[in-house]
Symmetry: C2
Subunit: 385 residues, 2 copies
C-alpha cells in the first residue's frame, strides 16, 4: 500500500513540516475517534471506564518508554514538549543568584520559561553561542559556572538540524553538579534513543511531530537519580496518592507525580497506533537510516542550485534540512515558503537564523524531494536570476 | 427528538455523574472528529492551517466568555480546571510567611497544589471548616489574617452541592487585600453566571463536566484588575509576542499570557458545539431552573426512604444531590454505587464526608430519577431492613 493512502494529510500535498507537526496515519485518527465512542459507551464517568482508561494509560506509557529504552515509571505524560520543559525548569529548587544556561539555538518557548523563572526566583539566565561554534560541547563547558544549576539544550537544533552530543554535554554538566534538560522536540521519533546511555536528567518530547500522533500529547523522561530533587510544580489528583478521607497522602513515586488532572485520554490510543505503524515499517535504527538517506538526497540536490545556501556544510545527521536564499532581500524566505505552499509543497520559515526548513521523514519519497527541489529552483531563478 | 438519541452515552444507562464528566452530544463528538480531518487536510502544519486554528480558538474563547458574561480577553484556555487553579495559585508572588486559606470542602487537587506551593515558598496553608458551618462567609471572614494573600473556595461544594455566596466572599477578601480563587468545576454549565458581578479574581472551570464538552479543555477567568499582579508560571510560545528574530518580546496582555503551547485544538470545536446544543434548548437561567426542579424532585423522593439521609436539610440550589446510608457499615456507599452501576445507573462515592453523589442535569428525566430512587430503596431494604 502506498503510504499516501495511510496518511490522509499527504493525499493532497508534498509535505516537509514533520518538525512542526507530523501527519497522523489513518489508524491513529480512527483510534482517537473510537476511544471517544468507547468512553461514552462505558461512562463517561463511573467504575467501568476508569480501569479501562488506566489500562490504556499504562499501555501508552509503556509504548512511549519502549521507544526511549527506559522503564515506564520514568515517564510523565504531558500536553506537549513545552509542558515537559516547564516541569523540569520550574522543578529546580532555585535560590537567588543561581544560574540557568541556555544556548542561542533554543526555541523561544524555552527563552520565555527562563524569563518567567528569572522574574520569580531572581536567578541569572545566560545564553551561550553554539550556532556558529565549531565545538558546542566545549562552548557549553566554557559557560558552566559553579552555581549553574541547570543547562537546557536541544538534542537536534530546530533551526539547522544539527545533532548535539548530548552524552558528552551530560558528562560535563554532571561533573559540575549541574542538571541537564534536553528539548527533544526534534529527536523523539526521528532517531534511535537509549536515554539511560544518553545521561540527560530530563528529556522533554512530544507525540505530534516525528511520531505522527495527535497534537496535545507529549511526555517528559526524568532520570531516576534526578527524580528526588525535582520538585513538583503544577500538580493535581494525578500527582498524588490519597488516604481513606480522599486527602493527598504523598506524591506518586513515579512520573505521575508531575501529572495534573483530566486530559484528552483518547490521544493516548492514537499515539500508540502511530508507534505501531512506524514499528511495523521498521525499527528505530532502520527508520533513522532512511531519514538520513532522504535528507542527504535533499541536501545534495540543493547544492546544485546556485542561489541556495545550506545552513550546514555537510548533510545533516537528522531529517531537518535548512537553507537560505543567498544575496536575497529581507522576506525572501517567507516568499519562497508561500510560493511552495501555492504549489502544495509544505515547508516553513525559521526566524533565527532567517532560513527555510524542509523536513524529510522515512516515508518521504524521492519524487517529493525532486518536486521540492524543482520548485525551489523555479522560484530562485525567477526571483534571483 | 429524545435527548437520549443526541447523547450516545445515555443510550445504555441512567446517568447521574455530570459532576464527574458530562456526556457529549453527538454534534460535539462529530465536531471533534471533523476538526481532526480538517487539520490533516489543511496541514497539519503550514500557512493555511494556522489562520483557521486561530479563528476557531477565538471563536471558542468568545463562546466560553459569553457563557460567563465577560470579554474574551479575560479567558485563558487550559487543559482542565486544575491547571486553571495551578495558574492562579502559583501566580501569586508568594513571600515567606504569607498565608493561603482553603476550606475543608476543596477537592484534593487544590490541597495538593497548596502543599506543593508551601514546600517551595515557605508559606502557611490554613484550612477553615465550612462543611458544618451555618455561615460559611462568616467562617471564612474569621480565618482571614493580614497576610492572607489568597483564599480558595468552590462556588458549589463538590461533596454536598451547597452553593457558596461568592460575591460576599469576594467582598470580605478584597477588604482584606486578599485575592479570591474560585474552583468553578461544578458551577460552569450548571448555573447562570455573571463573573463581573461575582467579583472573584480568578475563576477556574472545565468544559467536560456540566458543559458536556470533551475531557481535556477548560479555562481560567482572570479579573482585569487582578491581571497585573498574577505572574505567569508555566509558559510557552502561546504566552508571548515575538520580535523579528523570533525571540519573546513581551507577555500577551490578555489571557493568552498563561497559555503554554500546542493543545488538542479539535476539542475547541467540540465545546462550541456543546454550548450551542445547550443554548438551543434554553438559556442559562432556564437550564438552571430545570436543574433545580430535577434536584428538588430527587431530594424530595430520597426523604421517603427511611435508610437514606441527605447531606443538606433542604433541596440543594444545584444539581448535586448527596446522601448517606444511615446506620450503615463502612464501605456501604461504595457497595450502593456498585449495585446501582450493575443496574446501569451511574452515581459515585465521595470520600469526605463519606456519601453517594447523584447529579441531575436539565435533561435528566423524571423516569431516570424514579428508577434511581427505586434502586436505592431496593438496596437499602435488602441491606438495612
Amino acid at each position: 500500500m502506498n503510504y499516501r493512502d495511510t496518511f490522509p494529510a499527504l493525499a493532497n500535498k508534498s509535505y516537509f513540516n514533520y518538525g512542526g507537526q507530523g501527519p497522523m496515519p489513518q489508524s491513529a485518527i480512527d483510534a482517537v475517534a473510537q476511544a471517544h465512542i468507547k468512553i461514552q459507551q462505558l461512562g463517561p464517568f463511573g467504575n467501568a471506564v476508569y480501569p479501562w482508561l488506566e489500562k490504556e494509560m499504562a499501555s501508552a506509557r509503556h509504548a512511549i518508554a519502549s521507544e526511549l529504552n527506559v522503564s515506564s515509571d520514568t515517564i510523565t505524560l504531558t500536553e506537549n514538549v513545552t509542558v515537559g520543559c516547564n516541569i523540569a525548569m520550574w522543578g529546580i529548587n532555585w535560590q537567588p543568584g543561581d544560574r540557568l544556561l541556555l544556548t542561542d539555538c533554543e526555541h523561544h518557548a524555552i527563552v520565555a520559561i527562563a524569563q518567567a523563572i528569572a522574574l520569580r526566583f531572581n536567578i541569572e539566565v545566560t545564553t551561550c553561542p553554539i550556532l556558529h561554534s565549531q565545538n558546542p560541547v566545549e562552548t557549553i563547558f566554557q559557560h558552566l559556572q559553579p552555581n549553574t544549576r541547570l543547562v537546557v539544550v536541544s538534542h537536534i537544533l530546530w533551526n539547522n538540524g544539527q545533532v548535539l552530543e548530548v552524552d558528552k554535554i551530560a558528562e560535563i554538566c554532571h561533573q559540575n553538579q549541574t542538571k541537564l534538560l534536553v528539548d527533544a522536540a526534534q529527536s523523539v521519533g526521528m532517531m534511535p534513543l537509549d536515554l539511560n546511555q544518553l545521561g540527560a536528567d530530563f528529556y522533554a518530547f512530544t507525540g505530534h511531530k516525528w511520531l505522527c500522533g495527535a497534537a496535545g500529547l507529549g511526555g517528559l523522561y526524568v532520570r531516576p537519580e534526578a527524580k528526588p530533587s525535582l520538585l513538583p510544580t503544577f500538580v493535581g489528583w494525578r500527582s498524588v496518592t490519597t488516604d481513606t478521607q480522599g486527602q493527598p497522602q504523598d506524591w506518586h513515586s513515579d512520573g505521575r507525580s508531575y501529572e495534573i488532572a483530566t486530559s484528552d485520554f483518547p490521544l493516548l490510543l492514537g499515539l500508540r497506533e502511530a508507534l505501531a505503524y512506524h514499528n511495523n515499517w521498521g525499527n528505530a535504527e532502520a527508520r533513522y537510516q532512511q531519514i538520513l538517506k532522504n535528507s542527504e538526497n535533499l541536501w545534495q540536490k540543493l547544492q546544485s542550485i546556485p542561489q541556495i545556501q545550506s545552513l550546514l556544510n555537510s548533510p545533516p545527521k537528522s531529517g531537518l534540512v535548512s537553507f537560505q536564499l543567498a544575496n536575497s532581500q529581507q522576506g525572501a524566505s517567507g516568499q519562497l515558503v508561500k510560493f511552495l505552499e501555492s504549489q502544495r509543497i509544505f515547508t516553513r520559515t525559521i526566524a533565527h537564523p532567517d532560513c527555510v526548513r524542509a523536513c524529510v521523514h522515512y516515508f518521504t519519497t524521492e519524487s517529493e524531494i525532486d518536486e521540492l527541489v524543482a520548485a525551489i529552483e523555479q522560484f530562485s531563478q525567477a526571483k534571483y536570476p
